[in-house]
Amino acid sequence: EPEVTQTPSHQVTQMGQEVILRCVPISNHLYFYWYRQILGQKVEFLVSFYNNEISEKSEIFDDQFSVERPDGSNFTLKIRSTKLEDSAMYFCASSLSEGGPQFFGPGTRLTVL
């Protein structure tokens, strides 16, 4: 069964540095999402993306965050200047249709020191 992949599995960075988290969605999917899970808390929606533009974003997704689909296969989340509170597990998901079921990747653990 096709699956969503994410790289790296663990990223350690210094506060103020830029990070890019990468995701390869399922190949025929059209809708892409990022979620975040701070340690010990529940999974929170960050942003959805379709047709090369953001469909919806949460209040967490401020100007420090951006998303991009640079080619036909990758979907990236960039954090321009990381803060300590950005430390979390970041999950990518994709779906075939806007209301369709989402399939999640294994996550990238981001640690900001």
């Binding site: 809708y31 529940k42 999974v43 249709s97 806007e98 369709g100 079921p101």
Partner: protein
């Protein structure tokens, strides 16, 4: 807006005993429903999902869940728990009505239930 409630924050069962984890959802129509398991420091693994049809859904690792529309519930069950089942379990709801006005695309997760298995 859709929402998910997992009433039990922490459940402890003995190995070999049966398990039921509760999940209640709020959504205006028939949603997509999911159960995920997460081991400490790991990602989300999909256990099972409900889209439509048979309300009793079989998943991996011997888990099953039953969609009960009248109770807005999607409880997860396993007849005999193994020590390796100890983990965090998340119920999630996803809308199945494509509509930009209702922002139907995103999934909403419950707070999770931590399962401890006693030897």
């Amino acid at each position: 807006a859709q929402s998910v409630t997992q009433p039990d924050i922490h459940i402890t069962v003995s190995e070999g005993a049966s398990l039921e984890l509760r999940c209640n959802y709020s959504y205006g129509a028939t949603p997509y429903l999911f159960w995920y398991v997460q081991s400490p420091g790991q990602g989300l693994q999909l256990l099972l999902k409900y889209f439509s049809g048979d309300t009793l859904v079989q998943g991996i690792k011997g888990f099953e869940a039953e969609f009960k529309r009248s109770q807005s519930s999607f409880n997860l069950r396993k007849p005999s728990v193994h020590w390796s089942d100890a983990a965090e379990y998340f119920c999630a709801v996803g809308a199945n009505l494509p509509s930009r006005n209702t922002n139907a695309g995103k999934s909403t997760f419950g707070d999770g239930t931590t399962l401890t298995v006693k030897p």
